[in-house]
């Protein structure tokens, strides 16, 4: 099975870094959908099925916390796992994200190995 991955970040640099890192993980990827903020992500998820969402927290217009809230409120989206990718180091904030339903957390800067580990822990293994 190959996955469709959504990358949500207002920085084009980080979206590209994440996309490059995803390709290095050897995780089977069917497609990568990029979004510039939470609102853009929700609009794109209305048209495209994604298997997992990687999102930043701090973004203009609609941040990562609001995106998680909106996905939780939508029966069509609430089961899609969300991994937060952020510079945040606060244990309190990370716990708050978990209570909201984030399935994983990846701190910037990250390695492809760390990205791979969080995908395995979130989606389980896959046939290589």
């Amino acid at each position: 099975m190959a996955y469709t991955v959504m990358v949500v970040d207002d920085s084009a640099t980080i979206r590209t870094v994440l996309e490059r890192s995803l390709k290095m993980t050897k995780v089977p990827i069917e497609g990568i959908v990029q979004a510039v903020n939470g609102r853009d992500a929700l609009a794109k998820m209305a048209d495209t099925w994604v298997d997992i969402v990687f999102t930043d927290i701090h973004m203009p217009e609609m941040d990562g916390m609001a995106l998680i809230d909106a996905m939780n409120a939508d029966p069509a989206l609430r089961d899609i796992p969300v991994v937060v990718v952020s510079t945040e180091g606060s244990e309190v904030r990370i716990e708050e994200l978990r209570r909201k339903g984030a399935k994983g957390y990846l701190r910037k800067p990250f390695t492809p190995e760390a990205l791979r580990d969080v995908i395995i822990s979130t989606l389980g293994g896959w046939d290589e």
């Binding site: 084009a12 980080i14 701090h58 510079t87 945040e88 904030r93």
Partner: protein, 157 residues
């Protein structure tokens, strides 16, 4: 008695580590009076403010050549590529974001919650004050200079 490390010294260490890990840029400290410290310098600056257990602002200044070099490393492009030049400012913003997030954890630990703003470009006129700031940190990478300053409200370290 333990002496607290000046906060800009911590910023220098964290910035060096992040530039290496996130952009594969290896830096050295540029010492006061070093001949390589630029006397006149055209640089782009970005600013990031934060609130929470402490409030303040960090500025990052770098010349266009450094920004292009960092962007090309992060994006896997040739330094001369058009995309690398176009992404230079975005790369600086993101590097500052990562530096500040990690710097705050280094200084205040993992318990406090901070709210980071969105990185914003700085007015070039702000460079002169930062160049002479006592809390400025100069780094050198690939023969190019970088300047970081940190201001924390109420912090007198």
């Amino acid at each position: 008695m333990n002496e607290k490390k000046p906060i800009h010294e911590t910023l220098a260490v964290v910035a060096g580590r992040i530039l290496e890990d996130a952009a594969f840029v290896f830096t050295d400290r540029m010492q006061e009076g070093a001949c390589s410290r630029p006397a006149s310098w055209e640089a782009d600056g970005v600013s990031l403010s934060f609130t929470g257990a402490a409030s303040g602002t960090v500025h990052l200044w770098a010349d266009e050549g450094f920004a292009r070099y960092a962007a090309s490393n992060m994006l896997g492009l040739e330094p001369g590529a058009d995309d690398a030049a176009a992404q230079g400012m975005d790369a600086l913003k993101e590097l500052l974001n990562i530096i500040v997030g990690n710097f705050l954890t280094e200084v205040y630990g993992a318990a406090p919650v901070f709210n980071l703003g969105i990185p914003e470009p700085l007015d070039p006129a702000a460079l002169e004050a930062d160049r002479t700031a006592a809390n400025g940190v100069w780094l050198e990478a690939e023969g190019r200079a970088l300047l970081l300053t940190v201001r924390i409200r109420g912090e007198e370290r």
